[in-house]
């Protein structure tokens, strides 16, 4: 593409160049907390807060400057006065809109971290749109979560350690997000793993928590094998090329991107690398089949769960894919619509997780599975070339999922006496905690994707693009997932906020066992296929243990929580009530964001609304190498504008650009030209419709289902109130029952969900645990039989043999002179004879 020159310049700025501070500050904060936390007035939490706040500020500043930088490029760089910074020039191309979209190079500041075989590998910050987005997101959400935690874990035995770990956790994520090379990325990745271990096992006095922590770390670690291997493959694939062309190395992410798109690397190499790396993402982002650690991870304190599941930890996998997208793009042939591994896994995860969310009694587990399912969406998006929507979904999902978790936290904190069991300790809380309720509803709508809440824009965009890129089946999966999401969220909502208060929510401290078991039994009765008129004894008996255990595996929350909180919380155990400001403020902020954040990239509303696309998505343009290499501190950047735009190419009409054909000689691409679906009203309606219907059905069902259960409680709880309620429900019982039991229960909820759950616990989870166990047994066996018997045996054996030889020879030393003499002369004679024979021929 021939271009004439007409200079424009990219702006940069202090915040961009010193973005590494964003990660460094929390890291230092961690150190400070560990060192002095205990002595601080607020036990170190203030350090954590301050550091996160500082990061947030810096991140915001960086974001602003990044926006300026982009604008400066697009507007020809008038604003770039003074802020000239070291970057190679970029070659503009023409976007869908036909307007000039030059490539915006990331702002890199790096130091030599280690060297090997003469190559120097750096550590530092490489900031581009994606990085900026997540930096800000992580910093901001961490800040909110820490504010929330101030009150939530107050009085905890390890209050200080909690904040330390939380801070380090954010630091890890930040390090990874701004990673300049793969090793740094691994660094952040693993630090998060470590912190998740510390945080999930925060209350390690109970064995189950310790076990959950172990499981989380271990499962992720299994995935990390892929990360190591993948990195190795990519490194050696890219290294030589990177050294030759970009004066870089095979760890450098930019170099990897460029190499992947350069067409130099063999496809099989890319494929292997992509698969290996994606295995790591499966582990980290809880994709099927390594998702089982996520629900267990709920053993951790709620703020941890919210942080883990919104913006950090689990997003890491998605981020990795998005970060070195070209590798996957090429490896999985996403360019020409190959059905990619990623997409398939994503699709499966969406459905499986959604179904699992159905049968959870623990509110946090519902949310956990919903996270898994949402991550499935992101992977689905990335796997089908919908890069932008996926990243966008990370953005929106962070807000509402975090919000939901915090709501759950607030409930358990103030209403349900630290229980998370919806069936036993919640219900009818909407009056008791109005704000929480409001926030919850908003986030739920956002999660379910109701216009105009955040989820609507991002999720539907994914689905839309999936369809647009021609993956019809996955499109349906997407819709299905959406519907299921609506349903299980309704169920959770209903159980939590509607109906009658139960257990702790009703102010009861120790739960009435008969009440529970009866309730369980009843659920059985309803869920039992084809037995509308009531369960037979053995059915109930057969099912009871399962659900009871489901309930019991959450009990430890109360118990230990009490241990740690008695001093502080006894006062307001009495009555459920709204939480205090420290808990509410974050929730409400998040709720607000959950409402509006969707407009950050509201494609349907037109070009000018697509800010994420404009500022985050890298531009798929060819960059001349010599300009790329020209970078170096102090050099000003000449940005070349096309006078005559040659063939105006738009990615939509399948024109071959970056990612589709090898870049022209002397130029490199850093990002493939992903296509963007043009929003169509029909699809949007379809999506909305599905969700709405789902809602309708679900609401109806829940009212009926759990309502009827209440009726049976009549005899046991106070009479008067329920009679009224019970009568009301009895009226519309029949047709809904029919609908529900014959359609949903029998065909959807019960068989599939149960089957899925059975699958999950008995097969997948069992495997994960089994692997551990069997490895131990193998170890035992090898040790006992091979090591001790064979290897060591051989050693001791040789000694034994030597000593026994001696024993055998001892008789020769008989002590009898005559025998000695005989031996003496015999030897001499034999020697003589032999040697005579040998020598004398």
């Amino acid at each position: 593409m021939m271009l004439a020159a007409d200079a424009a310049q990219l702006s940069s700025g202090w915040f961009l160049e010193n973005a590494w501070l964003i990660a460094l500050i929390p890291a230092i904060g961690f150190g400070l907390i560990i060192a002095f936390g205990k002595k601080m007035p607020m036990k170190g939490s203030e350090i954590g807060l301050l550091s996160m706040a500082a990061s947030t500020v810096l991140a915001s500043g960086a974001a602003v400057q990044w926006i300026q930088r982009t604008d400066s490029a697009d507007k020809g760089g008038e604003e770039a006065v003074g802020l000239i910074q070291a970057f190679g020039r970029s070659v503009p191309t023409v976007s869908e809109g036909g307007e000039v979209e030059p490539f915006i190079e990331p702002v890199v500041s790096t130091w030599v971290w280690w060297q090997n075989s003469g190559l120097e590998f750096g550590i530092g910050s490489s900031v581009d749109g994606l990085a900026i987005l997540l930096l800000w997101l992580v910093a901001f959400i961490s800040l909110l979560v820490q504010v929330f935690s101030l009150d939530y874990v107050r009085g905890d035995r390890r209050y200080t350690h909690f904040f330390a770990a939380l801070t380090l956790f954010s630091a890890g994520m930040l390090v990874m997000v701004m990673a300049e090379n793969m090793v740094q990325l691994i660094l952040g990745w693993e630090i998060m793993g470590l912190c998740s271990f510390m945080l999930i096992g925060h209350w390690w006095e109970e064995y189950p928590n310790a076990r959950a922590a172990l499981k989380a770390f271990f499962t992720v670690r299994v995935g990390d094998v892929g990360l190591l291997v993948g990195t190795a493959i990519i490194f050696f694939g890219a290294n030589q090329w990177a050294v030759d062309n970009l004066d870089s190395n095979g760890f450098n992410i930019a170099a990897i991107q460029a190499w992947a798109l350069s067409g130099e690397g063999s496809h099989i190499l890319l494929l292997m690398g992509a698969i290996a790396l994606f295995i790591a993402c499966i582990g980290k982002s809880g994709q099927f089949p390594l998702h089982t650690w996520l629900p267990d991870a709920m053993a951790g304190p709620t703020p941890v769960s919210s942080l883990l599941h919104s913006s950090t930890m689990v997003v890491a996998g998605v981020f990795l894919v998005a970060r070195i997208y070209p590798v996957f793009w090429q490896g999985f042939n996403i360019d020409n619509g190959g059905l990619s591994f990623i997409a398939v896994i994503g699709g499966i995860t969406i459905v499986i997780a959604a179904l699992l969310a159905f049968v959870q009694d623990d509110i946090k587990k519902v949310l956990a599975y919903s996270t898994v399912s949402q991550l499935g969406y992101m992977m689905l998006g990335l796997g089908t070339g919908a890069w932008l929507p996926a990243v966008f979904h990370i953005f929106t999902h962070a807000f509402f999922k975090c919000c939901l978790f915090l709501c759950a936290g607030s409930i358990s904190h103030s209403a349900s006496h630290h229980s998370f069991d919806m069936k036993k300790d919640m219900g009818g809380l909407r009056k008791k905690m109005p704000f929480t309720f409001a926030a919850w509803i908003v986030s739920t709508l956002a999660l379910a994707g109701i216009f105009p809440f955040a989820g609507f824009w991002s999720k539907d965009e994914i689905i839309d693009n999936v369809g647009n890129n021609g993956y019809d089946f996955l499109l349906i999966v997407g819709f299905g997932g959406a519907a299921l999401t609506a349903m299980y969220m309704t169920r959770a909502t209903y159980l939590t906020f509607f109906g009658e208060p139960r257990g702790a929510a009703a102010g009861l401290h120790d739960h009435d066992d008969f009440d529970d078991t009866h309730a369980e039994e009843h659920e059985m009765e309803l869920l039992t296929v084809g037995a509308p008129e009531g369960p037979t004894a053995e059915e109930a008996a057969a099912d009871a243990p399962r659900s009871l255990s489901a309930a019991t595996n959450t009990d430890h929350h109360d118990d230990h929580h009490d241990d740690h909180h008695d001093d502080h919380h006894d006062d307001h155990h009495a009555e459920p009530h709204e939480s205090g400001p420290l808990l509410l403020i974050p929730i409400l902020v998040l709720a607000f964001l959950a409402t509006i954040s969707g407009f950050a990239n509201a494609t349907p509303l037109g070009e000018e609304w697509e800010s994420i696309k404009k500022y985050v998505e890298p531009r798929p343009v060819e960059v001349p190498i010599e300009d790329y290499l020209a970078q170096g501190a102090g050099e000003s950047l000449q940005l070349v504008m096309p006078t005559a735009t040659g063939d105006a190419l738009t990615a939509d009409d399948g024109a071959k650009v970056c990612g589709f054909e090898t870049p022209a000689a002397g130029t490199v691409c850093f990002f493939p030209a992903v296509t963007h679906a043009v929003p169509k009203l029909s699809k949007i309606l379809a999506a909305t419709a599905t969700v709405v219907i789902a809602f309708a059905v679900a609401i109806a069902f829940n009212v009926a289902y759990y309502g009827r259960r209440n009726k049976h409680l009549v005899g046991l709880t106070e009479r008067s109130r329920t009679l009224r309620g019970g009568y009301l429900f009895l009226k519309n019982k029949y047709y809904l029952d029919a609908l529900y039991e014959n359609v949903i229960v029998r065909w959807v909820a019960h068989p599939i969900a149960k089957a899925a759950y059975w699958m999950n616990q008995k097969i997948i989870d069992a495997t994960v645990d089994g692997v551990g166990k069997s490895t131990r047994r193998t170890g035992q066996w090898v040790y006992d039989n091979i090591d001790q018997k064979v290897v060591d045996g051989a050693v001791n054996g040789s000694g034994f043999v030597a000593s026994e030889t001696g024993h055998g020879l001892q008789p020769v030393q008989s002590g009898k002179v005559s025998q000695y003499g005989a031996l003496l002369f015999g030897a001499a004679a034999v020697g003589a004879i032999v040697l005579v024979i040998v020598n004398v021929s």
Binding site: Q810, Q813, S814, G815, K816, V817, S818, G821, A822, F825
Partner: protein
């Protein structure tokens, strides 16, 4: 010729002596057998001296005779000593130390 017969005689004496040393249990007899060997040696030396026509052999033989006397002297002293201590000169009983 003559000297060869001397050598043969020497060989025979040697064998007898060796047999005696190995087979006999009585210390004195063993001593005597050793004397036989030494005499075999002397015969050899003399015979070879005869064949080669040099005196070295005979000189050597004289040394052997002299030293043999010394050896036997020591030997008998020892036999006497054991006899004192254990009233027996059967060598088989001298197997307190073995292994």
């Amino acid at each position: 010729m003559l000297a060869v017969n001397f050598l043969l005689l020497g060989a025979v004496l040697f064998c007898i002596g060796v047999y005696g040393v190995i087979a006999r249990r009585n210390a004195v007899l063993v001593l005597m057998s050793i004397e036989l060997i030494l005499n075999a040696v002397n015969l050899n030396l003399i015979a070879f001296a005869l064949i080669k026509g040099t005196v070295d052999g005979q000189v050597f033989a004289l040394y052997v005779v002299a030293i043999a006397a010394a050896e036997v002297g020591v030997g008998l002293a020892m036999v006497l000593m054991i006899y004192r201590n254990r009233r027996s000169i059967a060598l088989d009983e001298l197997s307190e130390m073995k292994g």
